[in-house]
């Protein structure tokens, strides 16, 4: 279990966020759009550390393909205590967050590196 997961599960705030995340998933007002998410991912500067396709790098973790579940994703963004600063709803609205998650979920699987000649040598 990661440190963040422990923090989330132990805290009252975490419980609220889990509930909130579930609400986010179920609420039709927050229907997710991958296309809008791609635009929000750029507009909110997520790409600056995580890359345009969420691939990650020296400055930020890999987000895609296979992003963490939305509940975890939102909890992390709102409460990060690592190198990434926390993003409040004022800075990253719920709708943007949900769309970004949809965008990351839409990114195709990465091929096995063994199928890429430049990486298999």
């Amino acid at each position: 279990m990661t440190k963040l997961t422990q923090i989330i599960l132990r805290s009252a705030l975490g419980s609220m966020l889990l509930a909130g995340g579930a609400a986010l998933l179920c609420n039709p007002a927050f229907a997710q759009s991958a296309e809008k998410g791609r635009e929000a991912f750029a507009r909110n500067g997520c790409w600056q550390c995580h890359g345009y396709q969420g691939q990650g790098g020296a400055a930020g973790l890999k987000l895609a393909p296979d992003p963490k579940p939305l509940v975890y994703f939102e909890a992390f963004i709102r409460n990060s205590n690592g190198p990434m600063p926390p993003y409040s709803e004022k800075i990253l609205p719920k709708q943007d967050l949900a769309d970004i998650h949809a965008y990351l979920s839409s990114i195709a699987k990465t091929p096995d590196y063994k199928t890429i000649p430049l990486l298999n040598q």
């Binding site: 500067g45 790098g57 020296a58 990060s80």
Partner: protein, 665 residues
């Protein structure tokens, strides 16, 4: 300051006075008006002539007629050999191959001697467009060749321009000799600009980040200072030195030294590097042999290529995993003991070699604490034993903070790591016993497995966003590597953050495979250091490649012209992410802490961090200065063909640049 000896027939001041007197005499022979005009009123008297209105079109005066119609009279010449010729003799004894500099009046005498008396060879003058570029070139050249260069700086302004390059060299332990022109005699130096460009203690500008400096007051003093400066710069830990060159001393003729003693040039004998105390070496060996999980962390350990073999021998003896921090190519990344930095967390003994920041090896700083103030957390085991071998503490200064946070260590040797490794290897061999040897063999088997997993994981990470546009940094680096790996290549600089893909996936086994970073982390090192490194590699038959970031290039792009002018072959592959990405998150972080959306001003990052709108056409910039260039390349499929074209240009002896639009990191 120049010596005020009575013996010479003419010195610089008298020479200038003679020119003025000769001109006045010539003019007076033609027209008395000049002579009258020369009868300046005494202080306090009013010169009524100043208030007489001149006619709209004046007839030519005597000076103009003389200049246009008569042969000039012979001017008095300096008697004997120029002092700056002797300075060139001194410089030539030390085998310094190049002198990158931006031309200037305060060193015009030695400039003239270098190219006319010295034949512009050993050293050869390399025309630079900024003193910081010249210092950066000397920096890169040394790391490619192991040989120091000289640079000349013009008075206050030139030395001020050079400071960032000098600071980088100081932090990166790179030797260079900075000679600054200066005119110290306030009574006789030309008024106006040359006086503004002079200082009474000009070396003070760089004193806090040089190992030593001097202001010679005679030619013999210069000879001693130059050889001494070279010796100090080249004694580990290496570093820059500064020597002020008085304008008068350069221009005046050679005079006998004390009581008729002829000038002489001192012989240079290299100084042995400091080696670790034998007792401390023995104690370090005991800790390493007794450890269950020793880790070696190498920062600037490989001062020369020989250190790589020594480090491999020590690591294999102990089967200790090695973290190469990348400021030098210390350890082959193809070796199974190569490890990512995280392995120090489980270590029970850490040997740090020429470390800049031992604190950060066992602790973590996270810039995400309450109220925006970072948090410190220990990441190493509480019982870890720490050993440090490094000469970097020797030239420490009080003002600049390159010494980092204080870290207690168990065994601390103020010694050159490379010079101490042979003794440490022997001490480890003596301390090993059969029981430890079995444990060490098992450790090696685990390291092989961990290395294989680490490399597979790294390759899979590189595959992420492989076909993305803008091009991923992994794709950028691996496409480049595929085109150069069959040559004797050298990564001369990799500024900007490309997630360390070259260090992770290029097969780095030779010292020149990676020349490391800047030292002082001032933006603007990459371009000049690349050109300097490529200059050194050109003479050694190596192929130079640079990963060139956009922000770095724009600090002093004139160095591109220098590369073209001097036919320095260099493949510059741009990591053009169109922003100062190191800074983007700093502003965003503070905005988040203060709970307000960041103002991007229509760009993709906070105002002040983007390099877009308009986008800079780096390929056109390079072309304008004589480079072959192509771009912007945004489609990864276009990268390999462009690289092939560029490499053919570089192989023909010229520089080539590819402007590639990339992912941020």
């Amino acid at each position: 300051m120049s010596p005020k000896d009575e013996s010479p027939k003419a010195n610089r001041r008298q020479f200038l006075g003679g020119v003025i007197a000769a001109g006045a005499a010539t003019a007076s022979a033609i027209t008395p008006r000049i002579s009258n005009a020369a009868d300046a009123p005494a202080a306090g008297e009013h010169n009524h002539a100043e208030h007489e209105r001149a006619p709209a079109a004046l007839p030519p005066n005597g000076q103009t007629i003389a200049a246009e119609t008569m042969a000039p009279p012979p001017l008095p010449r300096l008697g004997g050999r120029a002092g700056s010729d002797f300075m060139v003799d001194v410089i030539k004894t030390l085998g310094i191959k190049y002198l990158p500099a931006n031309c200037a009046s305060s060193f015009r005498a030695i400039h003239e001697s270098l190219i006319n008396y010295g034949g512009n060879t050993m050293p050869e003058y390399v025309s630079c467009m900024h003193e910081e570029s010249a210092a950066g070139m000397a920096h890169g050249y040394f790391k490619a060749t192991g040989k120091p260069l000289i640079t000349l700086c013009h008075g206050t302004v030139g030395l001020m321009h050079a400071t960032m390059g000098v600071y980088n060299a100081f932090c990166d332990h790179v030797p260079m000799i900075i000679m600054g022109g200066n005119d110290a005699d306030a009574a006789t130096r030309p008024p106006g600009v040359p006086t503004i460009h002079s200082a009474q203690d000009i070396n003070a500008i760089v004193r806090e980040f040089t190992k030593w400096d001097d202001t010679p007051t005679s030619l013999q003093h210069f000879a001693q200072s130059f050889v001494r400066g070279y010796k100090i710069a080249m004694t580990p830990p290496y570093g820059p030195v500064a020597i002020s060159l008085d304008a008068g001393l350069q221009q005046e003729p050679i005079k006998p030294h004390h009581a008729g003693e002829a000038l002489y040039i001192p012989k240079y004998v290299p100084t042995s590097p400091p080696q670790g105390d034998s007792g401390a070496v023995k104690e370090a060996a005991r800790i390493l042999v007794d450890a269950n999980n020793p880790v070696i962390v190498a920062d600037r350990a490989a001062r020369t290529p020989a250190a790589i073999g020594l480090l491999v021998e020590l690591a294999e003896l102990l089967q200790a995993r090695v973290v190469d921090l990348g400021n030098r190519m210390n350890f082959p990344n193809t070796h199974y003991l190569t490890s990512p930095p995280g392995v120090t967390n489980a270590a029970d003994a850490i040997l740090g070699l020429e470390m800049t920041d031992f604190w950060a090896t066992i602790n973590a700083y996270t810039d995400n604490g309450q109220h925006g103030i970072g948090e410190n957390n220990r990441k190493a085991r509480p019982d870890v034993r720490l050993i440090s071998i490094g000469a970097a503490t020797v030239p420490t200064r009080a003002n600049y903070q390159q010494f980092q946070r204080f870290q207690y260590v168990d065994v601390d040797m103020a010694a050159d790591a490379e010079a101490t490794l042979p003794a440490l290897i022997e001490a480890v061999k003596s301390a090993l016993n059969s029981a430890r040897k079995d444990a060490i063999v098992k450790r090696g088997e685990a390291a092989r497995k961990a290395y294989a997993e680490y490399m597979a994981r790294t390759r899979q990470e590189a595959a992420l966003a492989w076909d993305a546009s803008p091009i991923s940094t992994a794709r950028l680096c691996m496409e480049t590597y595929a085109q150069i790996k069959h040559m004797d290549w050298s990564l001369v600089a990799s500024e900007g953050n490309v997630s360390n893909w070259p260090q992770r996936l290029w097969a780095m086994e030779k010292h020149h495979h990676s020349l490391g970073r800047s030292g002082g982390y001032g933006v603007g090192y990459g371009a000049p250091a690349s050109v300097g490194g490529a200059l050194g590699n050109r003479d050694l038959g190596r192929f130079s490649v640079s990963i060139q970031s956009d922000g770095d290039l724009m600090f002093a792009p004139g160095v591109l012209w220098t590369a073209a002018k001097h036919k320095i072959p260099l493949l510059s592959v741009m990591h053009n992410n169109r922003a100062y990405h190191q800074e983007v998150m700093h502003v965003q972080r503070l905005a988040n802490f203060r709970d307000r959306p960041s103002n991007n001003g229509g760009d993709s990052g906070p105002i002040g961090t983007s390099i877009m709108n308009p986008d800079i056409e780096y390929h056109e910039l390079a072309k304008s200065m004589g480079w072959w260039a192509k771009g912007p390349i945004k489609d990864p499929a276009q990268l390999a063909p462009a690289l092939k074209e560029a490499i053919e240009v570089v192989k023909s002896g010229h520089p080539a640049l590819l402007n590639v639009w990339t992912q941020p990191r």
